[in-house]
Structures are given as C-alpha cells and as structure tokens.
C-alpha cells in the first residue's frame, strides 16, 4: 500500500471524499500511511475535493506537516526562545557543533579544575590564571572551520558574517562566564578576587576575534593562550619577585586597566577587519 509505484485508485479516492466512514479500519489506516508519503495522491485528493473542502484540507495538511517537520529544539534553544530570541535566530546561535563541543568541554574542564583546586593552596591564583582560557577557546570555536553546520553553503547567505560570529560569541561568553563565576564564588578564599579574571577573559576573547582575522582559530587561541600564561608567569615570578599569582600585578588595579585597554584595542581591530568574517578566508 505504501509502495512508491502504487497510487490510490479513483473509486477509492471518491469514497474517501464522499463517505469516509464506510472505509474499514485497515483500508483507512493504510490510506493514511500512503497519503503521508505520497505527494501525488495528496494532490489528487485535494484536486478532487470540493473547493471549500480542498482549501480546508490543504490548510489542515500544511499545519500538520509544519508540526511534524518542526526540528527538535535543544534545551539551550528553548531557553533562548524564552529570553525573546526567536524567528530561527536561536537555532543559528546554537546549532553549531563546534560551539556545543567547546561549551561542553569548557564546563567539564571548569568542573574538574574546581574539584582539583579546592584542595590546593594555590587555588585562587591557579583559577585566575586558567579561567580566562575557557572563554577564549569557546569564542574561537565560533569561527573555527567546523563552526557552521551549513559549511561553505552557509557562507554565501545574507546572515553569514561578523554579526553572526559576534552573536554566537556572546552566547558562549555568557554561558562560560556564568559557569566560571559560579565556580569562582564556590572556591574557598576567593573573596574580593572573584571577578578579577573577568576583564582578562574579555580581553582574550576579543583578542581571539581580532587575531582570527589574520590567523586560523586554533592558531589564534594558541598564540593568545601562550601569551597570557607567559605574561602571568613572568609578572608573578620575574617582575614581582615570585609573588603568588593572586597578589601579582596582573590582577591588580593596574593589571585590570591594561586588560581593559587591550580589550578595547582588540574590539576596535575586530570591528575594522570584520569583513574577513564575511568570507571563507576566516573559516579555513
């Protein structure tokens, strides 16, 4: 009955329209299954029906098909939808395998780090040094080669470009900052330093967006991560004469001011060179 070569015979079609209640259960269910998969028979049914009934049937079918075809929403999509992000944008922001993988990885790393750090004497300093790397990796994943599920076909579309990368970056930054701050507040001895990692993290994330206009995502992350770790280590050990990381100049008011300046400069560079995100070259 559902064979692709079989179609509903005309007398049976007439019976469906004129007196559907006379069909036995087996025939009715077989017809229903066939009509679900056969556009030609659906068209014949619609054409044979009286105009009003045909319009109603077409509308009804369209509504059913629309409901059946609606792609499943993820939890994050549903959350974004409730926050007012709609019209498909929530799907654009979240249907990104690389971003999802980076998000899960970041949450996993942070959770493991929190468990490990809570038993060490350098917990706060180590957290401050490592936590900015999480948003950095997450943001870089928004323009990694595998970032967009539509691949190259998606690049030739109107919504592709720096705007989409920025919106995705905002989503992953929001998520990673939330998790990191929760961990920071849960760590013993964090006190007033609970937000000291935020500005460096923003500077690194924006730095990735700026550097990503020249380099591949993973190279940009590598350069910035190495630069950041080297900076923290050298300030703490070489300049501040082996001061513990938490007390070093990196996380002082001056260090925060420098991070802010770097963030502003990186944002300016990314804005000036945003056209690079409109083409394939930033996604190689």
């Amino acid at each position: 009955m559902t064979s692709r070569d079989w179609h509903v015979p005309a007398p049976l079609l007439a019976q469906v329209l004129d007196d559907p209640w006379t069909l036995d259960d087996w025939t009715a269910s077989s017809l229903e299954a066939h009509l679900m998969s056969c556009a030609a028979c659906r068209r014949r049914l619609t054409a044979a029906a009286p105009p009003a009934a045909a319009a109603a049937a077409a509308a009804s079918w369209a509504a059913i098909a629309d409901r059946v075809d609606q792609p499943r929403s993820t939890l994050v999509e549903q959350l974004l939808h409730r926050l007012g992000v709609g019209n498909g944008t929530e799907r654009l922001l979240t249907a990104t395998p690389a971003v999802r993988a980076a998000g899960l990885l970041a949450v996993g790393i942070v959770a493991l780090a929190a468990i490990a750090l809570s038993h060490t004497t350098q917990a706060v300093g180590t957290f401050l040094m490592l936590s900015p790397l999480v948003p950095l990796a997450a943001v870089a994943a928004t323009f990694a080669p595998a970032a967009d599920p539509a691949g190259e076909a998606g690049i030739g579309t109107p919504l592709h470009g720096a705007g989409l990368v920025l919106r995705r970056a905002a989503v992953v930054l929001g998520a990673s900052f939330g998790v990191l701050e929760a961990v920071a507040l849960a760590l013993p001895g964090m006190g007033s330093m609970a937000a000291a990692w935020v500005l460096p993290a923003i500077a690194l994330a924006l730095g990735a967006l700026a550097l990503g206009t020249w380099l591949r995502a993973e190279v940009a992350v590598g350069v910035l991560a190495a630069g950041w770790l080297l900076t923290v280590w050298s300030v703490s050990w070489a300049i501040d004469h082996r001061t513990p990381i938490v007390d070093s100049a990196t996380f002082s008011a001056a260090g925060q001011a420098i991070a802010l300046a770097v963030a502003v400069a990186a944002a300016a560079v990314a804005a000036v060179r945003r056209d690079r995100y409109a083409t394939l070259e930033a996604f190689r």
Partner: protein, 309 residues
C-alpha cells in the same frame, strides 16, 4: 572577442542573448605562489552558463568569488548590477543567490530537512510556516520528500548532492552558482537535474562548473573553458565543438600522427588531428572541441571507455 571563439580577452554573449547580469574584468586570485586566476575577463547572461576545465584550472575559485564567499585579489566585478566586494553589495547579491559549493560540508547529524531549514534561516526566511513550506518544496523538487527526515550521514552521496542542490534553490534565486552539481548523481538523476534547471531556474543566471561535457552540450547556452587560470574559450557549446571541425576521424587502427586518439566503445579508434589512412570524418562533439583546446595527452583505453559511456 566574439561569442564563439578562442579567448584572449573579454567574451560577450551572442547578440541574440540578453545583456549580461554577471561580468568580471581583470579578475586575479593567488594562493601563496599558485596563481588560480590570472586576469580573467568574462560576461554571463541569464540562462545556463558552463565552466569547463581540468582540476586546478580555477573554476572553483572563480565561482567562489562570484558567489561572494572568497574575495578577489584584483579585478572588477559586477554581479546582478552591484559590486559585491563591499558590505552592501555583498548583502544584495547574497539575498538573490543560490550557491552549491563543491564540498558543502554537511553536518551529518542534521536531517535533510533540518539542514535545508537551517540554510533557509541564514537566508532570512524568518517566519516558520512559509519557511517550512519552502523547505518541503525544494526537497520535493530534488525528489527527497520521502527521506527528508533521515540524517544526512545516512544518505547516499547522490542524495547528499541533491540536498545541496535543494538548499541552493531556496527562494528561486536570480543567480545560481553551482560547483559540479552533477558530481555523484546517477544518469537518471542527472537527467532530472537538467529538467529541474529548465523549469526552476527559468529566467535566472546559472553558472555551473562541470567535468561532464555532455552536461554542457545539453544544458548550457554559453560555455567558458578555463585553463591555468585563464579563459581559453568563451562561446556557445556548438562553437566549442566547432574547434574540432574537420579534425575528428574514425578509423579501424590507431595512427601515430594523431594529436589525440582513443578506442571507442564500438572498438573503433577516434582520432583528432590529421586523417589516418582509411578513416572517415565524423561530427565533432563538445568533448572533441574541449580536448583540442586542452591539448590533453592521449587518453588511455580506460579513459576511452569512460568517455564512450
């Protein structure tokens, strides 16, 4: 340069064709030390325009530039009346473009429906109901209605190609850029694709690259041959075939003086060049013209079987 001829400069469409909607002048693109496009001049009018050339000739690079996914190093572009190198021009072109890349890079966990729906969102189809109607329509056009809820990773190569074609057809674009659309399609699917272009792309400007010279002969009103980043021919398919006029012979034995010679499926030897002894002249095809132009090495017997099929 006239429409049917060897290219040394810009090629305009034939007088009876509509004015060009896509044109490039002095187009250059380099990847490191490799020159992909070396000062290309070309013009394409509404209808189906084919790009022929061997691998590495610059076809994909040219299509990517025209589809706004790759910037050119130099040259002037006019696509659908705008310069697509700036932000506004690029957006204007993308709103009227359907693009099938050579390797679409499908996310295999998406179903066919989810993938095309995702691209439709990227193409600013905001309202869900009309978007879903359009997604069903284009998947129906390529004959994938029955499998549209299957994951792409479980579809055959030909079906995946059809998913790619479906997303390019979203919204009946004015400009269709198709990079090897028939690669991976079986003969019946290729015929259906030709039929589909005839109906769905009527009035649109279609640019397609292919290795299938019979696709060019069957589909294209205009053909451009790219070799080593330069246009070597621009004109009609019959004009390309005519390059081999009075030079294609069928004989019973291979002649060493032939520029190109191969054994056909019927066991005859098809020669291009000077007439072998006892040979008779045959009508040249687009493939003959292309081979004359490309100056390929003599095909092997394996090539000949593939060519004959």
């Amino acid at each position: 340069m006239t429409d049917a001829g060897l290219a040394g400069g810009a090629a305009g469409p034939a007088p009876d064709r509509p004015p060009p909607t896509v044109s490039v002048r002095g187009l250059r693109k380099r990847f490191g030390t490799t020159v992909a496009l070396d000062g290309v001049d070309a013009a394409f009018a509404p209808g189906v325009n084919g790009l022929l050339g061997p691998n590495g000739a610059g076809k994909t690079t040219m299509l990517r530039i025209l589809a706004t996914v790759l910037p050119a190093d130099a040259g002037r572009l006019d696509v659908l009346g705008v310069d697509p190198t700036g932000g506004d021009g690029r957006l204007s072109v993308r709103r009227r473009l359907g693009y099938l890349p050579q390797e679409p890079g499908f996310h295999r966990r998406f179903t066919a429906f989810e993938f095309v729906d995702y691209v439709a969102i990227l193409k600013e189809w905001v309202d869900r109901r009309p978007r879903h109607d359009e997604v069903r329509r284009v998947l129906g056009l390529v004959g994938l209605e029955a499998v549209m809820h299957k994951r792409i990773g479980r579809l055959s190569g030909g079906m995946r190609r059809r998913v790619g074609i479906a997303q390019a057809l979203l919204g009946r674009p004015e400009l269709l850029v198709l990079d090897e659309p028939t690669a991976g399609l079986d003969p019946e699917q290729r015929l259906r694709f030709r039929e589909l272009l005839g109906t769905e792309a009527a009035g649109a400007t279609v640019l397609l690259s292919t290795h299938q010279t019979d696709d060019v002969a069957a589909l294209c009103q205009h053909v451009v041959v790219l070799l080593d980043g330069r246009i070597r021919f621009s004109g009609t398919p019959s004009g390309l075939a005519a390059l081999a006029a009075d030079r294609v012979w069928l004989a019973s034995e291979r002649d060493v003086r032939a520029e190109l010679a191969w054994v056909t499926g019927e066991g005859k030897v098809r020669h291009i060049g000077e007439p072998p002894v006892g040979a008779h002249l045959v009508e040249p095809t687009v493939e003959d013209g292309y081979l004359v132009l490309a100056g390929r090495d003599t095909p092997t017997d394996a090539d000949a079987k593939a060519l004959a099929s």
